[in-house]
């Protein structure tokens, strides 16, 4: 079964435990600036939204890479950057429509979410369940269920 990171922003408190855990997992150091998942704060609205790579099936970053540095992990489906092949040309960062692959000046390479080989550190660190790792085919089910619950209940559904 292929699994996806599923993000539920309304549960996020903006604590950035996901960023802290991601940097330790990949860089062996606590450094949110190196995290591949980022929590965006919309202060004046009181909203926090974690955001990271969605692991496109046909990935723009992978298509754009001139050196073939972006491969696929057969087990997780994650698009994974090979540091030995990446030349830091940044074309993938232009190609990605979501901005979730980025250049890291310290290494001279790009970095993106690799799903931690199927056991994502951000999910384990999140204290509120705002980031979960579930069947990739089911990410819409909770929302579908909440709409279903309102059907014929006499209450107009609200997005």
């Amino acid at each position: 079964m292929q699994k996806s990171l599923h993000i539920i922003p309304e549960k996020c408190t903006g604590c950035t435990q996901c960023e802290i855990a991601c940097s330790m997992q990949h860089d062996g150091i606590f450094s949110p600036s190196k995290s591949r998942i980022r929590v965006f704060k919309f202060h004046d609205e009181g909203r926090f939204v974690p955001y990271t790579c969605t692991q496109c099936s046909e990935a723009w970053c992978q298509r754009a890479c001139p050196t073939g540095a972006i491969g696929i992990n057969g087990e997780t489906g994650a698009k994974v950057v090979s540091d030995t092949v990446c030349v830091g040309c940044k074309v993938c960062t232009i190609a990605c429509p979501f901005g979730t692959i980025n250049y890291v000046a310290d290494s001279g390479k790009v970095a993106k979410c690799d799903l931690c080989d199927g056991d994502p550190a951000c999910v384990k660190a999140c204290p509120t369940g705002a980031i979960v790792f579930i069947d990739a085919q089911n990410t819409g089910f909770e929302r579908m269920r909440s709409w279903a619950a309102k059907t014929d209940s006499g209450t107009p559904a609200k997005a």
């Binding site: 408190t13 903006g14 950035t16 435990q17 606590f30 450094s31 949110p32 609205e45 660190a125 204290p127």
Partner: protein, 615 residues
């Protein structure tokens, strides 16, 4: 490891920034943040120095855990000689600034001297420079923070700054970071303003390492689980924030109101955590969401929006936003103490405190004292510039808050704090505080241990130096009777020492609703070199406490200053469970001195100082 092992020294007089190695011998004795910064301050300034003179120093410090995955480990402290109090000040703030400082590879910044013109400090990892702040002088905290990020084209810069209040010399000006997190108390912002330092802006990407990562992650995960499973940190604080206390403290008759004339407020439920959750006339709620500081798995912070039709914001769209909402202390000071039950008005006053860098506790308490003098006729309409400063007047609260923030009109007098204000009008006994700092939101006639807490607190009256409310009201770690004095000396000492140790780590004191040092010591021990057992942590706390005490004694304070206002010691509570009670400080203080190893005058004995390695 855990420590960056480096500090930045900023001489504002000469405009130079130099790094130096952290004194690791001291780090092993004082750990970090509140403890280590106090050690540097004690070594480097004359305790008798005028707080606003260039000879006073101001230290922004992280703890060894700051910037790690430990829950709540994003805090930093500002240590200096306090302008409001004249004793050692150590104000503590959350948000994300502390982590950024640590990620820039620094444990602390020591500011000394005074800049000839307004400047801000910009740190980008190894680069640090003082930059002309003419364009930001006069700006609010909010505009300064946004302006600096825009100017340097980096939204990830974290900023701690003073607002107008710190520039105009308000004696309880604070330093605000991340828009609404504050090192609020004791006038640390007034000291920053006196140095012509508008802001500290940091971008740090170097990361934080710990001594034993595997052991550390295990200890951190254990700690996070304890917080999640505890009813206070796992449910009460995320749902209601500290405002969970408003109705509880009112019911036990310890909610000061009308400048501590009474101990129960009829309007308490109108300004409670529950009221923030209630649906308003327009279908919205005051509370938008909760929020977390860096790495915090509790998330007690309130995010609030003021009702759009409310008089405070209806013609001012810039305040129709979500921003830092009411904590219990702020709701009490701006609300209950001033006899005001208008939740939206006190939320607005709180916004202004964040926007312009004011301590809302001292502000509310000073307004309450002024209201009492106004009702007595000591302060007149002529003095206030026509503001009808009666208890309960929400419009007056808002007007006075804005004037105080700008240092204009009668706001300039409020900006003195209640001690100086009451003395100026010949009513010094109406100052409700200790060592010049106003009480927070617990009346010590109804919670006896808090009387001893306030009287002996090293930074003036404060709940964050030994929160015996936890034991006396909430039963954490075990229930004691709030109306009994027996055993409180030991309780206060234990809370004071443990709190100093927690502060020195870089953790938030709110963890201790669930954590004891048994939960904290393993995290410190895995992160830092050295042996950090529970006993070592307790000794650390005691060492810090005695060092702060020594500073205050050298500054000219004595055991005679360990007292409470006459109103608390002589005028009995009129209602509630504490009816007929005063605070019986005299029954607790001698025992406290003895437990501390101090003489009858409240001076640490040479044996005590030797035992703690302080001489």
């Amino acid at each position: 490891m855990a420590w960056a092992r480096k500090l930045l020294r900023v001489n504002l007089t000469t405009g130079t920034c130099t790094t130096e190695p952290l004194n690791m011998d001291w780090a092993k004795l004082y750990l970090g943040s509140r403890g280590l910064a106090a050690k540097y301050l004690v070594e480097e300034i004359d305790p008798k120095v005028d707080p606003l003179s260039p000879e006073n120093k101001m230290i922004m410090a992280t703890g060894p855990l700051t910037g790690t995955a430990a829950s709540t480990a994003g805090r930093y402290t500002v240590t200096t000689k306090g302008e409001l109090t004249g004793v050692i000040a150590c104000s503590n703030s959350g948000g994300f600034f502390g982590n950024e400082l640590k990620n820039a590879g620094l444990d602390m910044i020591i500011f000394e001297g005074k800049s000839p013109k307004p400047v801000y400090l910009l740190i980008q990892n190894e680069q640090a420079a003082l930059i002309d702040a003419d364009e930001f002088w006069g700006c609010s905290v909010w505009d300064t923070e946004e302006g600096i990020k825009a100017k340097h084209q980096d939204p990830f810069i974290r900023v701690a700054s003073i607002g107008k209040a710190g520039e105009v010399g308000c004696k309880f000006a604070g330093i605000v970071n991340d828009m609404d997190r504050a090192a609020g108390r004791s006038g640390v912002g007034a000291v920053m303003g006196s140095k012509n330092l508008k802001a500290v802006a940091i971008r740090g990407t170097r990361g934080v390492r710990v001594n034993n990562p595997a052991q550390f992650i295990e200890a951190v995960n254990n700690g996070k689980r304890v917080l999640a499973e505890n009813p206070v940190t796992g449910e009460g604080l995320p749902t209601y924030g500290t405002q969970v206390l408003m109705n509880v403290i009112n019911e036990i008759g310890a909610l000061p109101t009308h400048n501590h004339r009474d101990v129960q407020f009829v309007g308490a439920s109108d300004i409670s955590g529950e009221a923030m959750h209630a649906v308003r006339k327009d279908g919205t709620k005051n509370l938008v969401s909760n929020a977390a500081c860096f790495g915090c798995t509790i998330a007690c912070q309130r995010v609030s929006k003021i009702e759009r039709s409310h008089f405070t914001v209806k013609d001012r769209p810039q305040y129709q936003i979500a921003s830092g909402g009411l904590e219990y202390e702020n709701a009490w000071a701006l609300g209950a103490d001033a006899g005001i039950n208008d939740l939206e008005a006190i939320t607005f006053a709180n916004f202004i405190c964040n926007e312009q860098g004011l301590d809302p506790i001292t502000l509310g308490a000073t307004i309450a004292a002024a209201m009492e003098m106004f009702e007595e006729g000591v302060i007149t309409l002529e003095d206030t510039g026509g503001i009808d400063l009666r208890f309960g007047n929400a419009e007056a609260l808002v007007q006075i808050t804005e004037l105080t923030a700008k240092g204009e009109g009668f706001g300039r007098e409020i900006g003195l704090g209640s001690k100086r204000l009451c003395e100026k009008y010949g009513r010094g006994e109406l100052h409700m505080g200790v060592k010049g700092q106003e009480f927070p939101a617990y009346d010590s006639r109804g919670i006896q241990g808090m009387g001893l807490t306030y009287a002996t607190s090293n930074r003036g009256a404060c709940h964050l130096r030994s929160y015996t409310v936890a034991s006396e009201v909430l039963g954490i770690p075990e229930k004691t009777d709030p109306l009994v004095t027996e055993g409180k000396a030991g309780l206060v000492k234990a809370f004071q020492d443990a709190t100093a140790a927690v502060d020195a780590c870089g953790l938030c004191i709110f963890t201790t609703f669930a954590w004891t040092l048994e939960d904290i010591a393993p995290q410190v021990d895995a992160a830092c070199e050295g042996d950090w057992s529970v006993d070592a942590m307790l000794e650390l706390g005691e060492r810090i406490w005695n060092m702060e005490r020594q500073f205050n004694l050298a500054a000219g304070f004595t055991g005679k200053d360990d007292t409470l206002p006459k109103r608390i010691l002589k005028d009995a509570a009129k209602t509630g469970p504490a009816k007929g009670r005063v605070n019986e400080l005299g029954k607790m203080l001698p025992e406290y001195y003895e437990l501390r190893g101090w003489n009858a005058e409240g001076q640490p004995t040479s044996e005590t100082l030797q035992r703690l390695g302080l001489i």
